[in-house]
Amino acid sequence: MTQHSWPLAAWGGWAALIAALLLAYGLAAWRGRWPKWRAAVFGLGCLLTLVSAWGLHNPLASMTSYTIALMSMGQIVSPLLLLGIPPAVRARWHAPPHAWWSLWLLDAWVAAAVFVIVTLGINLPGVFNTALANALFSGPIGLLLLISGLMFWAQLLAGSTSLSARWIAGVYGWLGSLPMMIIAAVWVWSAQVLYTPYLDVLCLWNLSPLDDQHYAGLVMFAPGLPLQLRAAWLLIMPEGSTSAAPSP
């Protein structure tokens, strides 16, 4: 009686997106003779996008698996896709003919605002529950997290960043990760189930809904770690003589 999974068209959309990404990347990498390890990293990012999409397709099955998919999309896939592109190429995004979009998407202020609003917004019951009512809603939510993750991580990597110094990027990354950590803490330590549709289902692995929520909070801590480590790296490691912005 409820829509708990994706129709074929939704799967087709994700497959088409990944195919388009791979095609565009393959052409650019071939022309620019980009290092093979970067191609491998980008390919891994695409593979994880598919795996994450699989985790998104049935949000009501388990809050933990749904959170793994969402966090993976925003915090694992995003940096992998960006690292697949050389910093010099990412730097060219700031100049014409890319300036029209990079002016907005690669602006540190805009990226921070989008990242924080998306992180907090999608966890509000009114938004979160949409995907629990109809699994189709989880697709756009995953895509939104991927885009916000790409925008935020771009500020922590050389070339794509708009920030002028490593320590600023470090503080920026650390502050940006705080909302995620706060939500994770709320989930872990909450004494009641926050998204009540989970009360009506048997969760995977026979977890109770409250345990499921606690594990989802722990899961949110884990994929948040790369962001925190990257921020710490930028803060702790000394600036190089030629390096004003973060690298790689």
Binding site: Q3, P87, A91, V114, G126, L132, A133, T196, S247, P248
Partner: protein, 221 residues
């Protein structure tokens, strides 16, 4: 490293081209407002009822109770329920735990409604027609919700109806002719226009305010 160095050179001219922090702050404010509006619209355009505490169902017409009669011996008709929210629960009177707890929880929620209580009806469908004859059913419901409608049908009608309402159940023999029934403990909410709207597992009924809030939301849109 050369990549990083050339990337950083590009960064040097970036700030001036972008117009400084004031232009960035303005862009961030515009995007923030747009994103907040989009999230608000998203939460408003969601499937009807997704902001409620129950689990949202596809709004199909409520299945008919073919072959059932109520405790007065009358045939149940959805047409007679139009304008009322109907809460449908499948259970049995010998149930030791979840049925009485669910009915008690429903009673607590309905007490909070005040005048709106008149626009909510409860339908209890017995999964045990063998032991739950109509007087037994009536007496059982009177202990919890005197105005609840008790429905009883033949075993075949019960099996067909449970399937239609997505209720799974099985008889568990405990010896000496005794048995209990394992069954889905879910309350289905049917909207005033006779369509499936929400479903509540027992866990969603433990806070009486949740169902009461949902009912107010539906009856006072």
């Amino acid at each position: 490293m050369r990549d990083a160095a050339s990337a950083n050179e590009a960064g040097a001219v970036r700030q001036s081209r972008r117009g400084g922090w004031k232009a960035s702050a303005l862009r961030a404010a515009i995007v923030s407002l747009a994103l907040l509006a989009a999230l608000y619209a998203w939460s408003r355009l969601q499937p009807h009822g997704a902001a409620l505490h129950g689990s949202v169902l596809q709004p199909l017409p409520a299945p008919a109770f073919t072959g059932f009669t109520d405790t007065q011996g009358r045939v149940f008709s959805w047409r007679q329920q139009r304008g009322h929210v109907v809460l449908v629960f499948f259970g049995y009177t010998h149930c030791p735990d979840v049925c009485p707890l669910t009915l008690a929880a429903l009673a607590q929620s309905l007490q909070r409604l005040g005048a709106l209580r008149q626009r909510v009806r409860v339908v209890f469908v017995t999964l045990d027609p063998q032991r739950d004859n109509l007087p037994v059913l009536r007496a059982y419901l009177d202990d919890f919700l005197p105005d609840a409608i008790g429905l009883r049908g033949s075993p075949a009608a019960v099996a067909a109806s449970a399937r239609q309402w997505d209720i799974s159940w099985r008889r568990v023999d405990t010896g000496a002719g005794a048995y209990w029934i394992d069954h889905t403990a879910a309350v289905t909410l049917v909207s005033p226009d006779g369509r499936l709207l929400l479903r509540y597992g027992y866990g969603q009924l433990t806070h009486p305010a949740w169902l009461a809030d949902d009912l107010r939301h539906i009856l006072e849109p």
